[in-house]
Symmetry: C2
Subunit: 354 residues, 2 copies
């Protein structure tokens, strides 16, 4: 038994498909109540489900929102995805998911697929890259997006605009990474005298770069020298690796007499921070005694981590919502309420008394 069609419903109700369509799917014109009832009854008895593809074709709008993330299993993205999902639901849209590992080429493919599906809008999350090797792909991504926009699509972007994209229809939700990193640095500088080291993502990853820049600026403002920057992977493994390296240095240079932390670390995101902590611990170091460490994002799942991680709380779910609403043309919302975060000092950067 194939799914029943509108035509069948109409026939059963003894009306034309036009009328059936009008009563079953919100139309400006509402047929007479008696007829309407008959149609609804017919639909019910046949178990009629409108074919959204056909509707999409006819209305040329699909009710779909495309979501592009690096990795849906990463808590950063999945939290944002939750926001996207909830905003989409409020607007009776469904979300189409694409994961890309952050590769611009994959992102381009995803945008293409969304365009093919005539998604009403696309939300892109995840740090942009300006690395030279990505330049070409970035350009193609930008072209794909521009094409999508010029065909009437809307795009919501978290963080940085896609490099090179220029058409109308973009809505970016800015995240004050730099400012917040500055604040974090100042807060840490007030308590710590140890050497600062930044555990960062690959050079050219915009989010990472912003946070580095902001942090350095904060140190500067506090009259401290620039921090050393270690570039590594933007994930736990990267943090872990950097942690190992730092642990080695600390152990070889630590002054046993001092009980001040030998280093104050800033990992540009929480997951990296956790990786670094794991490495430091494995090497027998203790946080925050031997080294203080801060992250960024304030991932929910990691809040029970001990020592509690100093970090910058970002309203990830709201960010997802905002990007979605923005992509839907709901731009009033963001003017009302720009994204902001708050520096959250916790145990991992406390200076141990004595």
């Amino acid at each position: 038994m194939a799914a029943s069609t509108l035509a069948e419903v109409a026939r059963l109700a003894g009306v034309s498909p036009a009328t059936a369509s009008r009563v079953l799917n919100g139309s400006a014109r509402t047929p007479g109540p008696e007829i309407a009832e008959r149609v609804k009854e017919a639909a019910r008895s046949l178990g009629y489900i409108p074919n959204a593809q056909a509707q999409g074709l006819a209305r040329s709008s699909s009710g779909l929102i495309g979501l592009v993330v690096h990795d849906i299993a990463d808590p950063y993205f999945s939290t944002i995805a939750r926001g996207v999902q909830s905003a989409a639901r409020e607007h009776q849209k469904m979300v189409l998911l694409a994961t890309t590992s952050g590769t611009p080429a994959d992102e381009q493919a995803a945008v293409g697929a969304f365009a093919a599906r005539r998604a009403d809008s696309i939300v892109i999350v995840g740090s942009r890259s300006t690395r030279p090797q990505d330049a070409k792909d970035n350009q193609e991504l930008a072209a794909e997006l521009d094409r999508y926009c010029s065909n009437g699509g809307k795009v919501g972007i978290v963080g940085h605009p896609v490099v090179g994209a220029s058409a109308d229809g973009y809505h970016v939700v800015p995240v004050p990474n730099e400012e917040l990193a500055t604040e974090l640095a100042r807060a840490l500088a007030a308590e710590h005298t140890a050497k600062f080291v930044i555990i960062a993502g690959p050079d050219g990853l915009l989010t990472s770069d912003d946070r580095i820049r902001g942090f350095q600026r904060g140190l500067l403002a506090a009259g401290l020298p620039e921090a050393e920057v270690i570039h590594t992977g933007f994930d736990r493994a990267g943090g872990y690796q950097a942690g190992l390296e730092i642990a080695g240095r600390i152990k070889s240079s630590q002054d046993p007499a001092s009980n001040q932390p030998a280093a104050c670390l800033f990992a540009v995101n929480d997951v990296m921070a956790i990786g670094a902590v794991a490495a430091l611990r494995e090497q027998g170091l203790s946080i925050p005694r031997d080294a203080a460490i801060a992250g960024f994002d304030d991932i929910e799942t990691l809040r029970d981590f001990r020592p509690a991680l100093t970090t910058v709380s970002l309203p990830l779910e709201d960010i997802g919502r905002l990007a979605t609403l923005g992509s839907l043309g709901w731009s009033e919302t963001d003017n009302a309420m720009p994204v902001t975060g708050v520096v959250t000092l916790r145990r991992s950067t406390e200076t141990v008394p004595t």
Copy 2:
């Protein structure tokens, strides 16, 4: 500028739409190479993107896979989602996401929406409920699914079949929750003499119930009495609450002379376990000294948690893949490799020497 259509491409290339369709979208018949080149060139120059909705309508298949989860921000689900996504991608499908908070009514709505979109298959993840208040909704969900299946849809389910669903086309990926919980209990029973307490989800949540049952069986096999079961929310908050209660009891009854843990806790999932640990700690108790605790799932993000959590490792990503492949009719795969987990003993249940 509206998106260009196949007809325009055909016109520009000087061929019929039929021919254009054949060269641009994999068809059994491939037109002559010279013509093909002309069409491709035309398509390229127009920036043609096939309209997937129209294709779907014509082919009556959408290339969509519907994924139903309780909460995409929950690491359990997001890890499975990653597997689903990757399997989908390998089969050139896109995934449509729906989150339902586990409410059967919402799940039904999601299935309906997927059916409307003519999703090729649906993957349902998340514990089924047999609670009386859900009975009616469950039945409707089952009806909706049956309808979807009888219209040719395929369904992949993780864990338990939907209560009451009977049509053809279901593929369930069984997760040996009960067996693994039994194993876990035996392993713990070998080391612990303290009172066992199970921190469980609401009564009637199948996954929770299975894990309880398995655990009790394991205790029994080890010659120990049944554990007390505390029913609470299936999430961190639930675990936390139970943790508070247990902490109270422990503190009021603890024998200061003993340095054996006063209780051995089993939380039916990792997130609950983490919540419980947080509560216990807040109450000044230490793990595993005052209480041992184990979880279930082995969530990746929580692996760096200290004390490392004893748990049962589940190949979540594979489970997602399997359910997806199964839903696509790739059933050979699962016969070859049933899902299995492994009891992973870690620090949180170690008995402290002396």
